[in-house]
Point group: C2
Chain length 140, copies 2
């Protein structure tokens, strides 16, 4: 879609985030958001960028992912120590985590209800409720 102005959407995303439309950010926007919902690690996105002939350093990948997260364009998901996933789906939802493939699968937030949670500890307020359903593939 929108083949005539391929960067129009990326541009408007960057404007929303008050980030200058650099070559690197525009390219990363397209990689991240043109392909539906994704859960990527910094390393994976870096490889993908290099494979697509987008020259960008790993430092910039990290900078960009964090800037996008602060701007609400991405969400961080932690399911395993030492690996951070960035999620292009920022709506309220949960995850299956396929342990032996290190892969996340979205669970629509609309269906899921978490009932019976006690009040937050004194003086604390809830910022997010994350449900992670760990699953093992049959082949092990």
């Amino acid at each position: 879609m929108n083949n005539e102005r391929p960067y129009a959407e990326a541009l408007s995303r960057l404007r929303t985030a008050s980030l200058r439309p650099t070559r690197q950010r525009l390219a990363l926007c397209k990689l991240l958001f043109d392909a539906g919902d994704r859960h990527v690690t910094a390393e994976a996105l870096h490889s993908e960028a290099l494979a697509a002939d987008v020259r960008v350093s790993l430092a910039t990948i990290y900078n960009t992912l964090h800037q996008f997260t602060e701007a609400g364009l991405l969400r961080e998901v932690v399911v395993e120590s030492g690996k951070t996933y960035f999620d292009t789906n920022t709506s309220d939802h949960h995850h299956f985590y396929v342990e032996d493939e290190c892969r996340l699968v979205d669970i629509d937030g609309g269906q899921v209800k978490v009932q019976g949670l006690p009040d937050a500890p004194a003086g604390a307020e809830i910022s997010r409720v994350d449900v992670v359903v760990r699953v093992r593939s049959a082949g092990d």
Copy 2:
């Protein structure tokens, strides 16, 4: 309790796990399990051991925590990238995570019901459902 045979409980735990009752493991058992439910990092347990005059290397702390986890005496909880918590509460339960204090608080599993989860992806089976309620302390 059981002041006359202070290592009896630790010994039986190690037997259950088929681990030799070394000085280090016995001491770590006591530190971990004599004080009710705890969520410790390797570094924190190491400091605690040194403070209690238990000479033990960080490598042994990691070895022991993983062996105890494999034996079902501990459970790993991941809430933040780059930090692993070991939980002495191995019953079915969930967690508040107080983000600005990096502290975990148990939520009894009996009260909480997660409803509306879809089937696991084809060929996968659920190994665990983790609910993490992220909270912020009021003072920020």
